[in-house]
Amino acid sequence: MVELIYLARLRDRFGLPGESVALPGDVADVGALLAWLRSRGGAWSSELAPGRAVRVAVNKDVARADTPVRTGDEVALFPPVTGG
């Protein structure tokens, strides 16, 4: 299982703060994970559309499309940050 965490606007749009998911075997990195979530349609498709600015952290470190995602990882999805 992979622990997904949705923050800020994404939590509002998806309507949940996170979920535990079993990833298909071919979903092994951040890019593939986003594509898999996008295939759910609805808010998933629109919020994670390729043009949208979405940031991803794997185990609390900033990740890129080719960052690996493995069983037991915590993967957070969030919009560009606006603190300070």
């Binding site: 965490i5 923050l7 800020a8 606007r9 509002d12 600015a53 952290a57 609390k60 470190d61 900033v62 957070a76 969030f78 919009p79 560009p80 940050v81 606006t82 603190g83 300070g84």
Partner: protein, 148 residues
Amino acid sequence: MVVRVQTEDFDVAREIALLRGSDARVGAVASFIGIVRDQNDAATVRTLTLEHYPGMTEKALVGIVDEARRRWSIIDAAVIHRVGKLAPTDQIVLVAVSSAHRGDAFAACEFIIDFLKTQAPFWKKEVTPDGERWVEARTSDDEAAARW
């Protein structure tokens, strides 16, 4: 180094006193306080709610301060960021840096707040007369961070 995320307000004088301690090498303290304004993007702000990503936030802030330490000759630094519900004139964030000479303190302080604004996982939601809205990231903040 002090890195703290808290709902309570902070006392700038107390934090600067803690930062300095009794270290007589300190010749300069540069600090920055970020404050909730009553206007943002042409709308009146009634309240602001700040959320963050616990665990990652502290890690990100420590990473930014460590990078500042590598780039400049600083003695110590403190970063305190509030979360939760705030109102105009409330303090949001304090960055304070001590050093022997002022150039290092100023540069490190501005670097830390510029990177906090673009790298640390905080998000603002505003309540305006037209309802709630998530604050959009600013291009000017990306440009400020890209200078370094």
